[in-house]
Symmetry: C2
Subunit: 408 residues, 2 copies
Amino acid sequence: MTNMTERAKALDEADPLRAVRDAFFLPEGMIYFDGNSLGAMPKSALEIVSEATQQEWATDLITSWNKAGWFALPTEYGDMLAPAIGASAGEVVICDSTSINLYKALFAGLSLRPERSVIVAEASSFPTDLYMIEGALSSRPGLEMRLSEDNLIDLIDESVAVVLVNHVDYRSGQLADVTAITAKAHEMGAVVIWDLCHSAGIMPVDLNKHNVDLAIGCTYKYLNGGPGAPAFVYCAAEHIPHISQPLSGWWGHAQPFSFETGYAPDAGIRKFLCGTQPILSFRALKAGLDVLAPLDIKDIRAKSQSLTSLFIELVEAQVPGLTLASPREAELRGSQVSFSHPEAYPIVQALIERGVVGDFRMPNILRFGFSPLYLSHADVVEAVTRLSEIMESGVWKEPRFQARSAVT
Amino acid sequence: MTNMTERAKALDEADPLRAVRDAFFLPEGMIYFDGNSLGAMPKSALEIVSEATQQEWATDLITSWNKAGWFALPTEYGDMLAPAIGASAGEVVICDSTSINLYKALFAGLSLRPERSVIVAEASSFPTDLYMIEGALSSRPGLEMRLSEDNLIDLIDESVAVVLVNHVDYRSGQLADVTAITAKAHEMGAVVIWDLCHSAGIMPVDLNKHNVDLAIGCTYKYLNGGPGAPAFVYCAAEHIPHISQPLSGWWGHAQPFSFETGYAPDAGIRKFLCGTQPILSFRALKAGLDVLAPLDIKDIRAKSQSLTSLFIELVEAQVPGLTLASPREAELRGSQVSFSHPEAYPIVQALIERGVVGDFRMPNILRFGFSPLYLSHADVVEAVTRLSEIMESGVWKEPRFQARSAVT
């Protein structure tokens, strides 16, 4: 292990992101591999949120609409996020939840292809995406959902209006071939929506480069926006004038403060807004966007690949019994590594008790998410040491690790 | 004025809610009549929000799902709100924005009347309500919106699926005759939705007593939940098993953590939930609900009527040129008083500079909202004194009060 410790030390010393760790609060002794579920708190969030509460709400009250620029936050923060996902200013807006934004994006896509009615998605999609397609089907009779197993690209033909693809599989971490899927969708005249929940902030996404039509994603994972932080919608600039979406609330109105009776959408990306946004949760998100802003997303991706590759190497060398459930090639996976084990659940619980926080995914997956903003190669070495000890000791067989909590 | 000061003093001394003022932070010298736009901050909010940020997010991270009960907050807080609006436990859920909840409620209502397609609403409705009906129409072809001028009740016939009524007119403060409208709707077999944005927390609402089918409202006005605080949906218990709504995200799933491919709604009020909720904004709302919980809503209504009646009396006696634009009879208005004046905008600006914060509503309305939780009769006397001085001095004619800000 000494060699390994030295190797990790050398990697960390050469890491251009090593100082970013100081921007985050993490509990003493915890090695946090759940940034793909809920990102850690940037230290500045506490002050930003307190300031928003005491100054903007309590003291300035309604004058904060102008003074603190509340109404502009969705596009202001959208523009901050845009470079990280390869979008241009004016193409991204922060609002609502990922699920709600997907509903908007589905109808926006359908509005571009009014003569078509098929929505294609992956059966292995993050489930709420499929639930929202079901919701769209229930609100507009005549739509059809076509689900792929491993053949998404084969399902795209000229009857398809919208293709929804998860950039990263939430279980395995496998990257979808979004380039090929997008090209095929466009060849068939379909509109593509990328779900970026597990890629935004952790790897280059290049929405503009791939002529992606629409995208949605959350901000509470690798963007470290806080629990339930507002999500985002991207729409390619060329489509914005032509799309419509049915959640047409007052924040999306061209003249929101004129209180007109009829709805007239904003001319820009704000047409994806609906109701009043939760300002305190918005402000927390700013802390995460501030950390990301000066960083090079290519550095983040490089470190992510280095961390995940090291983790796979060490687990396979030191921990018998775990089977890799993620792509072995770094360029084929997002920033997570999953292993399968028949007793994944109690092992994850025992690991958490030892300060190594990953999570369990049905039915037998140990899932580890890697945020290069606050994880080091030394953390990886230490985590695998603890995992190895747990597996050797068999401590995870104790009954207290078996009991399922309400939320897993 | 001395007599008036003494009368106000006597009224305040007899006020059973007088101690509640101490629960709120308000800037020194400000008399705040905009609690119907953004309620004041309960002092406890600052600590609750900081604690949620530092402890729940930063320290406990994903364990907060269980430890802090994040997943249960929408129904936990819904049950806290229920008594104030005459609902039972299990009939109210907190989530998303008012506009989004209205979209859900519209489709929930339509799901109870699948053979009908007409939605009736007031032309004078809060505009975003009409925008959301337009959105529903755009997502389901074949629906029809029927708008009333002053004859809502006459438009309700056996073709009507859903009647949407604003409990309080946002401009005049006039109460709708919701009892008669609800009875007529039910007589015609229609479902009724009450918009409670301007009545929740300020007066008895009695949803159960009137057999109201559905209701929605915000929590950042008289419920003091904070800027953009999550909104609420009410559904009568008898309807819950039978309704569906299309924003069917994972938080509304019967088994949200089993990651099933197909959507199966929760059996209870949680079926109105969609995506992950903004936890920090949720926590702020708790401060407002905590203040309300021990109070008697009848005391709140009585004080509200006393404050607004005194305000009308004093303005009409001391301030020539303003015309009452709210009902004179206390039982016919909510907790606001509007006056019209051709130069309403600059007068409101001059008042704000003098620490009397009301707001302007197009085209010529000065609107004053009265929260009995933090306003006293003495405040009313002082506010009218300042208004009178402004009108007499003509200070509002100065050019600096004329310039419209982006947000009015």
